[in-house]
Symmetry: C2
Subunit: 146 residues, 2 copies
DNA sequence: TTATAAAAGGACATCAATGTCCTTTTATAA
DNA sequence: TTATAAAAGGACATTGATGTCCTTTTATAA
């Protein structure tokens, strides 16, 4: 399971993308409201994202968050990596420090399939691909697709 | 990812099973050492397991932990359910409160596959099936299979 | 040029997961 | 019957994730 912070981050980025497509640069308040997260905490997460160049921001009047051209293919993996690290893609499901093909835990083979499947998803899907689905009306960002 | 407590619990139960097959009933100290977990914390987790009837215990001299005949087909799901609950099998990967087939988040379809795959594993594998692999030398409980 | 609106950032607060310590209960061996 | 060994249990400590508040920086509009 992804951490709450990572979930907030992904939803926030998707919302920024959707607004950017409407030529808007949402601010912390608007983002926090949309993704149903506490405003001050959302601000921290957005700081992490901009500090790590996953997204850009402008201070001052008329400022807000947005993607520039280098940031238009942002995989979910990139986001997870920055927000919570990538332990979930390496860690043994059984909790062993030393677990690998040569020295497998009794869950190794089966768990690997699931873990690699998840890795494949987050390496394939991007903030933009998810946003596209919402824009098309095939998925929702929060309750209803408004 | 499973919580540390759940990992400890699963490893502890597997070790108890292995020792039981040798006609032994290990105590907290022996279990904690084997699974490389803090002794007092291990004791708490073992308490949870016995209180929930996943395993049995005897107090006093010569006491320890063991399985009785009703407890010889313990799925990993049963353990997870008792130790950390089953949020990981229901929760939306995107963090939405309302996410289902009719109102899907943009990750719904792909994530479902992974989540259900994991559910299948933990409903199929049991403490006994994992222990069997270790007994056969096909997997390890900690570093080396001793 | 100044007031304002917005992000950035530092310091602190809360809560749940993890971990520790000490006392109580209980079964068995001597 | 008593001493001992072991689990049970209560209270507290630590840590990391989550969350809050207030100040600082900076871009823009008036």
């Amino acid at each position: 399971m992804l951490s709450k912070s990572t979930e907030y981050a992904i939803r926030a980025l998707v919302f920024v993308q959707l607004r950017n497509w409407e030529q808007k640069r949402p601010g912390v308040g608007e983002i926090a409201k949309e993704i149903e997260a506490p405003e001050a905490y959302t601000a921290k997460i957005l700081q992490t994202l901009t500090k790590n160049k996953l997204m850009d921001s402008m201070k001052g009047r008329g400022g807000g968050f947005f993607f520039n051209d280098n940031q238009s293919n942002l995989t979910l993996y990139d986001v997870i990596h920055v927000v919570e690290g990538d332990a979930c893609f390496h860690k043994c499901g059984f909790g062993l420090k030393q677990c690998n093909n040569d020295n497998p835990c009794p869950l190794h083979e089966q768990y690997k399939v699931v873990r690699d499947g998840f890795f494949e998803i987050v390496k394939t899907e991007t903030i933009q691909s998810l946003s596209e689905k919402i824009k098309q009306g095939d998925a929702v960002l929060n309750r209803l697709n408004t």
